[in-house]
Amino acid sequence: MIDPRVYIIKERLSSIKTIIPILGFKGGVGKTTIASLLALSLSEHGYRVGLIDMDFTNPTLHIVLGVNIEIIKPIEEKGIIPPRTDNLRLITLAYYTKGNSTPLRGRELDEVFKEILSITIWRDTDILIVDPPPTFTDVNLNIIRFMKDLAKPLIVSNTSILSIQPTRNLVRVLRELSIEPIGLIFNMSIGDKDLEERLLSELRNENIRVLGILRLDTSLEKAYGSISLLKQTSLYRDIHSKIALSIVEYL
């Protein structure tokens, strides 16, 4: 029995110029928020941006962006067309699971990955931002397998010494596969300069471009669900004025 899906996935992605997986081996470092704000910023910079939530068991991109999954769903047209939200095209399993608990083992995660990517038609999309789950398991392995040719990963770490080793490992694993990260962001800093200097020092040997150290933004909790409020946060301003510009230059 031959699974034909794997033969069409690269073709489905071929119209996209760049794929930016937001990678981090640790959970809770702000990948989903960074993915959302970066997508909004790149859209303001004139790019046509798509987003795919690959945290299949716990999708939250739609919550960050205020997408009502009870009403909005992909359009069927020779596949599924990701719906637009504020000029972004978003695909999430939540359109189909409606927020219900969806426990998935590795085999099922692999199936969801292949199913979604084999039937999604990315129209008008220059940049696809991928929000995967933490940990280096099925979904992230598939991202590398199927998106390697277009992938320019952005690594997100929090400002904790516990993130040094996972970040170092991630950079090395990507480079072993000849994938060069677009850069590294330290997120959720509380302004401890000694700690920030230690993190920079520990990772200096990896020779990875640090795009910025972003301060913990407590205003986010009130902004989740509203794109206009998200754009008023200091984190968005930092991403828009520093991170996105660096990425635009890199692209």
Binding site: M1, P4, E76, K78, I80, T97, S101, E111
Partner: protein, 132 residues
């Protein structure tokens, strides 16, 4: 229709691996969980095969029944997706793993079950004429 996207992946495999060869038969195994419209799938596959130069292919579909097995208590059962209602059936039609959001083991209520059979669309057999 989503059946078109599935047909494209099937024909992509054939055009990648059988170009210039005389394909006369194709059997597609379709899991019932996905509730695929088989007539539309066959029509789409034939149309796409013609575009790729495979004109005389007998395309058949073999249904695969649904078998589920609980990983907690080992209970085995089956479902009819249409019994779950039109909305849920449609969700499972697009992404079969959506079933985990709506179905639990009828014996122990666990959502940790395995789709043993009935998921997916596969190329089961390709028949080609090989000149002696």
């Amino acid at each position: 229709m989503h059946e078109w996207a599935i047909a494209e992946s099937i024909v992509k495999y054939i055009s990648n691996n059988y170009r210039g060869r005389a394909i006369v038969g194709l059997t597609i195994a379709v899991g019932r969980l996905q509730n695929i419209d088989k007539d539309i799938l066959v029509f789409n596959v034939k149309e796409l095969l013609k575009i790729e130069g495979f004109r005389e292919v007998d395309v058949r579909v073999r249904d695969i029944g649904i078998s589920l097995r609980c990983r907690f208590c080992s209970y085995k059962w089956s479902i009819n997706p249409e019994d779950l209602g039109e909305d849920i059936s449609e969700m499972i039609h697009f992404i079969p793993e959506s079933i985990y959001a709506y179905v639990k083991c009828p014996k122990c209520n666990s959502r940790d079950f395995e789709i043993v059979t009935g998921r997916g669309v596969y190329i089961e057999e390709i028949v080609e004429v090989v000149e002696a």
